[in-house]
Amino acid sequence: MSAFPTTTGSGTGSDAAGTTAPAASLTSVFVRLKLSLLRNGLRQSGGRTAAYILSIVFGAVLAAALVLAFVLMRGSADADSVAILLVGALALSWAVMPLFIPSGDETLDPSRLVMLPLRPRPLVRALLVASLVGVGPVLTFVLALGAALSVAHGAAGTVLAVLAVPLTAVTCVALSRAVAAANIRLLTSRKGRDLALLSGLIIAVGMQLVNFGAQRLGQAGGLESLEPVTAVVGWLPPAAAIAAVDSAAQGDYAVAAVRLLLTAAALVALLYWWQRSLVRLMVEPDGSTIGAASDAGVRDRSDGTGLLGRFLPDGRTGAVMERSLRYLWRDPKTKAGAVTSLALGLIVPLVNALQGTGSIYWACFASGMLGMLMYNQFGQDTSAFWIVAQTISTTADAYAELRARAMALLVITLPYSVFVTALTVGILGEWQQLPEAVGLALGLLGAMLATGSVASGAFPYSIPQDSGYKNVAPGQGALAWISIFGGMLTAALLCAPLIGATIYFHVSDQESLLWLLFPAGSLYGALLVWAGLKVAAPRTARRLPEILAAVSKG
């Protein structure tokens, strides 16, 4: 890593016992640690190995297709726009991903390293190299290579491409780590619980920007209209590195040099930021619970149930609902996930409506996002699931448990879905379409809750609590992805009758009958939830020890 040329030979080595090679060995230790963790994670379960291999195959096919597309685009007038914007989008997704999407990387968890005599600089270098090991970074490298190939012409272009491709990949990974570390600092700070809201919102807005760009691209003559965007993104690292290759190929050597240096400077700045966050994380305690404790102290009630409890039913249903709702508010990870879902579910349909490009059907996006909260219910319990498992012996118990969790989510998601739909329809001024939009939204919400409860019982995975870095234990990432995307796909298929009916009424000019979708969608959604719970309950009741084992990992 050229970023820290002066640290070689200093750091851990100088005060270590002499027999081991200095700083360089720390990096190799971390890389080997990462590989061992990955191997051990996969060894724990055959299903996980299969999921991991599947993701590698998928990644390889995707990478090959993209590189091929880039090579075919060589010489086309739009090649530079596409290459620069794609790398820009790639970098953005690297920045957003650690906040939003399951990723497990124990080697990057500073809390495990607190007691070791490590200096910040060698540590950051070792962590950076270790995080370059994996499917994602390799895929990024291949994509950057493809982007460079599509714009590199002549000797100067080639030379710059050789520099720019690794620089781009490393900057993407460094960006991701720096953002993740900063996010953990937010989550573990004294005000962490409230800042979780903020990080959820930032993700939501970021996603909407990507969505906006994608829509512009999709419009007629999209690539030309993106020229000004390309001009800006071409100066933003790491896309600037690919733009530098383009400039060099066109003979603008000065511009090329500035763009490349800009990216290198950005990499150094990111590493510095990351290092600062890491040092803070390693020396400051987790203060995220301090506020919560005093909150609870103020609300001194004698019966152990809060204000909430008075409106909830008695027994298991009420107890489970109350705990689920409390966790939505008190657990930073659950809260950040919920806020992201709520914010995205509102922003995406609304912004689309305000742009005039929207459609009432965007309102279903809210249902989809909110329904995702039902996934991996038991993983959200962590190993405290044993308390739940202890009280489930029959299918009826499991059914009551899952139903209460679905009801807790419905308390929020049902009115919210209706609200978002009404708002979207209102902005678009198409009130006559409100019944069908609400019907579709509720149908999809029901389908997501149904598939979510089945997936909770069938594909539980652990959400490690000891570190904000991980939303899933090492080796379980692919399992989490397959569970969520498989579930969403199934939910979409389950909604096919509703979607089909909508299309049929529209196409066959029977728009006066579209209101029927409201009762039909509501009933169908309710039916799906009921059926989903009925399917999930026996499986959950049978697999309690296996679920406990799965959610206790990591």
Partner: protein, 281 residues
């Protein structure tokens, strides 16, 4: 098959208790392996009801694995387990009977830590189907006896180790179980909390209930228990009344070291010659 019994294993150690009463725990031919490692190697165990029972053994002996299988948290590879006469791994009806009769304080598993102590008890009790008013009454008394009333509105995540063990014990006792399983209940607990826990447990067994707890602290087991089972390397080395297991040895510690074959091991002469103050670094 989890509920498959080992033929013949019954007679070895599973001799029915002398007075003919249903034992609190009856284990026959229990096996569990994780990959290459056999954690529990075909054990037979009969723990009489109404006793204070210690399951002792060194780290890695298989105590936690055994307790997890007995309490229905970990599926055995083979063997049969009955608690108060009901099969732990049979049909749902029998499982329900077991789960209603036992309380657990596991080691290494979390609680719902974003609830306050009082909320955790309210939740656990209602999950077990107890009426809300009764849960709250019992919770208040348990919090009082366990000296947690002052922290009842603090989130469990902010509790110390001793407080966590105490709130876990309260949750395990809330539904008045017949058999209480505690995995290392005194590990990392300060003397004051330990004394409180002891007092509650002694009162509980005095009323005829059974406590099964695991520990590797022999002095503790010796002072608390009237019945012990010694475990090492996935096998039961001895089980019976404390005096019987101790035999002629001066203490349970000595008897234990002999049983697990650790007596001959001494700090080898010069293999640690670099360790100590005057030595070269």
């Amino acid at each position: 098959m989890p509920d498959q019994a080992f033929d013949g294993a019954f007679d070895k150690a599973g001799a029915a208790p002398e007075d003919g009463a249903v034992p609190a725990v009856h284990v026959e031919g229990l096996w569990k392996r994780f990959g290459q490692q056999i954690a529990v190697n075909g054990i037979d165990l009969v723990l009489p009801a109404g006793r204070f029972i210690g399951l002792v053994g060194p780290n890695g002996a298989g105590k936690t694995t055994t307790l997890s299988m007995i309490t229905g948290l970990l599926r055995p590879d083979q063997g049969r387990i009955r608690v108060a006469g009901h099969d732990v791994w049979a049909d749902p009806e029998s499982v329900a009977q077991v789960k209603a009769r036992i309380g657990i304080l596991p080691e290494g598993l979390r609680l719902f830590e974003r609830l306050s102590g009082r909320e955790l008890l309210a939740y656990s009790g209602r999950l077990r189907g107890l009426p809300g008013a009764e849960v709250d009454k019992r919770a208040a008394q348990l919090l009082d006896v366990l000296d947690l009333t002052g922290s009842q509105n603090k989130l469990v995540v902010d509790y110390s180790t001793g407080m966590r063990k105490k709130i876990g014990l309260a949750a395990a006792l809330l539904h008045n179980p017949e058999v209480l399983f505690l995995d290392e209940p005194f590990e990392g607990v300060d003397p004051v909390s330990a004394q409180t826990i002891r007092g509650v447990l002694e009162r509980y067994t005095a009323s005829g209930a059974t406590v099964v707890f695991s520990s590797h602290v022999m002095e503790l087991v010796e002072s608390l228990c009237d019945w012990v089972a010694v475990m090492a390397a996935g096998r039961i080395r001895a089980q019976g009344p404390l005096a019987e297991v101790r035999g002629d040895a001066p203490s349970l510690q000595a008897a234990f070291l002999e049983l697990v074959g650790a007596n001959g091991r001494e700090a080898a002469g010069d293999s640690l010659d670099w360790l100590g103050g005057g030595a070269q670094r």
